[in-house]
Amino acid sequence: MTESKKILIVDDSDELTHVISDFLSMFGYHVHTARDGVDALKFMESETMDVVISDIHMPRMDGYTLMTEIKTRYPETPIVLITGFSVSEAKKLAFEKGADAFVAKPFHLKDLKGVIDSIFSH
């Protein structure tokens, strides 16, 4: 069941977080958003998330640093990293640093949902 699953989307593009949020909400996910790693960590102090989806390139704190912090503080929380920059190297680095999944931009929303569904089905 996806009804109560909580997802945090971290990206400095309001347009992108809005569209992803709209899409995933339709399938019963409870979606929150943050503009960067600093905001995300602050938010997670008060709310437990079931999965975090984060862009890699963001101001103040990038996705790798955010992932390291989350893995330290909340080791059970799965993390999906997304980027469109230097995809093959970013993907390699993401998995080396502990990402649970990696999504390259551009992506289809249904594919992103497929990745999330897959994480929750494990």
Binding site: L16, S25, T83, G84, K110
Partner: protein, 155 residues
Amino acid sequence: MNRKTMKKPKRILCYTDLAKYSSYLVKYAYELSKIIDAELFVLHNVTDIGGAAGFYVPHINIEKLEDEVIQAARDKVYAICHQAVGDSIDAAHRLVIRGGLIETLDKVIKDKKIELVVLPHNGDKGILSWLRGDYAERFMREAAIPFVVLPMDAS
């Protein structure tokens, strides 16, 4: 005492937020439409991200993603209607529109000459969470048609 009686609505609009109880809402609206012999429209609004058309997000075509959201919403509205009443509500009566919620409701009410609106109320969030703010006040002041608000936690 001068009492006014409400005339039977000829066209009903049922707004769904696609939440899990939506098929109950649609079923109620459908049965009501049959009882009073009215035409039923089912509507969902996909929130417009406000002038994002042409906005540059690296590696991403926001408009294409928005189209995906619209298509997913259409599929969801179809699934809800189908679960509620089979194929009784055809595509022309299942509306998915991108825009501001209040403006969309306002437009559909005018375009389809709606005379009754059926809305969900789901406890914590309820309709107040989205029928709030300046638009809501204007909409409710100008709408001049009756609403039926269904408490979905009782479904």
